[in-house]
Symmetry: C2
Subunit: 361 residues, 2 copies
Amino acid sequence: MVATLDLSLDAVALTAAVCDIESVSLGEAVLADAIEAALAPLSHLHLTRIGNSLVARTELGRAERVLIAGHIDTVPLTSEPANLPTTLVDGPGGAILRGRGTVDMKGGVAVMLRIAALVPEPNRDLTLVFYEAEEIDSQFNGLGLIEAAHPELVTDAAFAVLMEPTDAAIEGGCKGTLRAEITTKGIAAHSARPWKGHNAIHDAGEILRRLTAYQPQTRIVDELEYREALNAVLISGGTATNVIPDRCVVTVNYRYAPSVSAAEADAHVREVFDGFEIAIVDNAAGARPGMHLPSAKAFVAALDLPVAAKQGWTDVARFSAMGVPAVNFGPGDPNLAHMDDEECPVAQYTTCEEAMVRWLR
Amino acid sequence: MVATLDLSLDAVALTAAVCDIESVSLGEAVLADAIEAALAPLSHLHLTRIGNSLVARTELGRAERVLIAGHIDTVPLTSEPANLPTTLVDGPGGAILRGRGTVDMKGGVAVMLRIAALVPEPNRDLTLVFYEAEEIDSQFNGLGLIEAAHPELVTDAAFAVLMEPTDAAIEGGCKGTLRAEITTKGIAAHSARPWKGHNAIHDAGEILRRLTAYQPQTRIVDELEYREALNAVLISGGTATNVIPDRCVVTVNYRYAPSVSAAEADAHVREVFDGFEIAIVDNAAGARPGMHLPSAKAFVAALDLPVAAKQGWTDVARFSAMGVPAVNFGPGDPNLAHMDDEECPVAQYTTCEEAMVRWLR
């Protein structure tokens, strides 16, 4: 059974429809099928599916090719109160769409689908990339998998717009992100006789103390301000309720300015947790803003919007590494991304659609 | 398919056979079947099975009835290096049996099986209780389930011996055990913008700080010394590697002297973690030594061994609550219970068998 998406719906209704097809990371198949079915009838687009990711390209022989990308997965749902299906509520400044994905980033996905339907003859050749698994370990990232399998589909663009939430403003660059597992090891023993063992969870207290005491930097890069952060995101220890735990793992996430290299971030985290066993399990450098490049300037001029720094890591860093300059631009307040009460004023979906169409027509 | 246990094997070989039938808590069915099959041919025993627990009783009309009990489950296995199947190795003082259950408490179970086979006409009526799920939450405890379903099978004993490991010495009483979950709550947010949320794992650092700073008491009860202990046994927090965690749970285990009531233990833990959300999920008071009672004195006299305090909580507390005085006596060093390198000098299995047979013939 294929869920259906009607591209003649307006950007608001289409965003709600995309959100209501649940697609937590690694569970994107139903949404990918629906997008494929919606794009298949559009004869100006050449479709390629890779896993649960889709690339749709015009081949009009234009002087420039631009790429618009968005991930179709979300972080896990919240169950109490449920944050799906979406609800449309009244806000002080107009209607608000509430629910998982309304910010990160199914509004962007809906705008991309609208562009596919509304702009059959764009002024630039167009590559639309709908991809899976952005919210989890980078080995699963659909954009990365497309680049590995078919680089010719994505690397020929002169400029890319990633429709991650920016509150409908233009955000340049992005911070890097490093994930590390800090492990303490103890000696198992019966919890009635702990003096015969050594408690690995108690030892993890020092890791949490260092995290609490940590003073993150704020760095200016190409005139934009990036706030760094170092946080525990997961903790796990112990095997049974009557056994002194012999192992505890704290997973930390370091978000670092784009002026810091991946190697420097690695060294910094090792220094902060000096004395502990550390495994760096994921490390993706950021992207400098790069707003001085001609394609970026053309985009900014067409939209006529201010430019700010992107705090979250986004796949603009992947485009940056491919040699494709890229910016973030999409509906939704990035501060609400991943929060239980994710919501977005619906006017932003329309604004973003109109801005993108203005640039491409 | 039923695994078989040959009761004509000596106590050492039979212990190894019992250990080699894996029976981690809630997975005791195969071992219970094997015990049932081994006892069924013994006409002097009346068998009752309740879940994966078995009660075998003589009905000889003796002046006194005594009960011997042992749990048939173990804590989880260790996989690297595997601690099952058992191995027999040379030690400085003789052969040693190594592997999960060799201490806690399949040696005791093997001795009980040997008593069933070797003493068809005991000088006291005998109730043998082989029971499931001692190592996990008390709601699953087989002895508790037998008492609830068929109290007449267990409450008519004048005295009970629980064959938990005591290094083949007599250990009186036991400590109480309380389990509590201490929860911190935060606010979820994207980990690139932690200033929009609140980190619940970082807040758990204070719980670990209090645990590390905690000074446990040692209390003398009926001339025996009980060392208290308060430890984290499990910790868990976080939902995804790019989300600021909104919840962290630290499970703590408080082991308290038998002079402390369950209510006092509850109040103490709440005081230690004052300011945090606390749920007491399990609380079982200890048992005072009670070695002044006549049946206990007769047992000690027959075995002629010294009496010490039991540090671990054991089901002597359940017998104590039923009004049945009970002691701990079994092969294996209790300090090795639940440890990866659980092992026992094989001479202890034989010593315990001989002592019990001496008492019952």
